[in-house]
Amino acid sequence: MPFGSATEVEEALRRESYLPDRGLATAVYLALAMRRPLLLEGEAGVGKTEVGKTLARILGAELVRLQCYEGIDAAQALYEWDYARQLLYARALQAGEVSVDERVAELYGPDFLVERPVLHALRAGSAAVLLVDELDRADDEFEAFLLEVLSDFTVTVPELGTIAADEPPVVVITSNRTRELHDALKRRCLYHWIEFPDVEREAEIIRLRVPGVEAELARSVAETVARLRALDLVKRPGAAEAIDWAAALSLVGAPAAAGEAARETLGAAVKNREDQARVEAAWAEVVD
């Protein structure tokens, strides 16, 4: 455990250009100290995935990312046998091309095992950060499987035996909340709901992420994006959109998010036709 307090975590994240609020820093600190998976929920674009990535950099650990999708199953998360190679090997065995001491048992040996993210992370142990991204997209069965893995950090491959992590990897799970995750899974995790950053912090994030951006422009973008979020939009712009917009405005040399420059670059922040129409209608109050 490289950190002694939540403040130290906050400072470390800041050094890696991720500006957490106090709650997130505390949640990360607790997850590391209590060795619990950290479940992060929040709207798209608030930087959930970024937490996992940044944490891997800070800890000098390998980032192992498992992107979830509907229909993902254990074979894609854990391991699979390399069937084509097994088939060739079996043929070679039969044709006598493989010497006797290379036994048939090798057919299901480590050579033919294709490691997928979860198994890889378990083997790497504390040298890895396992990022389970958008778990809400996966099915219930997959969630149950993941719960099993996270409960004792061991996995059993029938042909090889049990693989256990000496020290469990750091686990970060993100969800966009398109469906409610199961309580059993939540009970295994520490939970944090990430809010949109306030104007101060957002301006700071923009300054950190967009090289050469004027402080005034960063502030103006942060304020405008905050007003955009207050509109009833289909897709509220996240921090990523604010960064893109600031970068676009900076490129065209605009001093602030206003006027023609703002209109021409709005696509960086608002990416839905109905939303653009809505922003256009409220242009005077929101942007200018």
């Binding site: 709650g23 607790l30 209590m34 479940l39 939970y191 289909v234």
Partner: protein, 346 residues
């Protein structure tokens, strides 16, 4: 305060949270204790936020209880309204023809007992939702080669892959989402429709139900469990705007923003049960339905007013919505719901 008996205080705190409906068991309280021990005393708030809170709706409740225990109080949410179920007396009908009559009887004229009887019949409606291809594959008689099973079978023939196996993309039923209007004008039908939702939800765990009037409430969880009467009661406790006004357009927008665009409605079959009498902006409704129809596989609108053969969709909201609706039916009695169930499969 915490100083005198820290563990006792946390246990009482946990109990108070549980009394407010947060799922805080002894294991959670122990976690809270561990977290609190790792943090500074002034960080106790966050120790609890990460360990006993597990969804955003719980945050205001947590804040309020935390305020009561350790700091300045936060305003509490209003008390939930209670559903009233009208019990009307009606003459007895011979048992033999009873079910037949019930099938054709408009929900608006059913007594509470009849509704519960109907709930039983509803659970037998065969809801066949169209299927979609998933990424997962399953064994099949033809399709793409299945190397895993081919290899397994080759062992039987001495390593020669003589018997080949095939697999294809699995097909799964699409998600069904029910959006039920529980406003005052739907009063006579809303309970029956909630019972219908309860029956539908039991046929597939991925189905979802929402109630709306002036606001949108997800009731999927409340409708879990085998007993329709209990489910109805739980749903009523959750829905705060039962028998109030209607703002369909706004509620649909809410649904799309909070759930639909996240993926819930994508490729789904969405059934809206409403009379279309909207006090909100009809343009907004048209826009919302248009958005919904682009996301969903199919949009079905059940309007009990259609029971009357003379009904014409004159309400401006209904008119704005209809061009984007794939199937428009009445759903005012069991026979009609059965017909809808069949039509969905196409």
């Amino acid at each position: 305060m915490v100083a005198s008996d820290p563990y006792g205080t946390l246990v009482r705190f946990g109990r108070a949270l549980r009394a407010e409906g947060l799922p805080v068991g002894p294991d959670r309280v122990a976690e809270l204790g561990r977290a609190a021990a790792l943090l500074e005393p002034d960080e106790l708030y966050w120790a609890g936020r990460t360990t006993v809170v597990s969804r955003p709706e719980q945050i205001p409740v947590y804040d309020a209880v935390f305020g009561r225990f350790f700091g300045p109080p936060v305003p509490m949410p209003g008390p939930p309204l209670v559903l009233r179920i009208r019990a009307e007396v009606e003459e007895d009908v011979g048992l033999a023809s009873r079910i037949e009559l019930l099938r054709e009887k408009s929900f608006s004229r059913c007594t509470r007992e009849e509704l519960l009887e109907l709930a039983e019949l509803m659970s037998r409606i065969d809801l066949v939702v169209p299927r979609r291809r998933t990424r997962r594959r399953e064994p099949a008689r033809s399709g793409a080669p299945d190397l895993r099973r081919t290899l397994r079978r080759s062992f039987r023939t001495g390593g020669d892959p003589l018997e080949r196996a095939w697999r294809r993309r699995r097909r799964r039923p699409r998600r069904l989402i029910l959006l039920l209007d529980v406003s005052g004008s739907m009063d006579a039908y809303s309970r029956a429709l909630v019972l219908f939702a309860h029956a539908a939800l039991r046929s597939d765990r991925r189905f979802e139900a929402f109630c709306f009037g002036t606001r949108l409430t997800r009731v999927t969880r409340q409708l879990e469990g085998p007993n329709p009467d209990d489910a109805l009661r739980r749903a009523a406790a959750e829905v705060l705007d039962w028998d109030g006004g209607t703002r369909i357009g706004e509620c649909l927008e809410r649904f799309l923003d909070e759930y639909g665009h996240g993926g819930l409605a994508r490729g789904a079959v969405v059934v809206i049960c409403s009379d279309g009498l909207d006090v909100g902006d009809p343009e907004l409704l048209g826009e919302a339905i248009a958005r919904l129809s682009r996301l969903a596989h199919r949009v079905v609108w059940l309007n009990p007013l259609k029971e009357d053969p003379a009904y014409a969709p004159l309400a401006r909201g209904m008119q704005a919505a209809l061009p984007h609706v794939d199937l428009f039916a009445s759903g005012h009695n069991l026979a009609s719901l059965e017909a809808v169930g069949k039509a969905l499969a196409r």
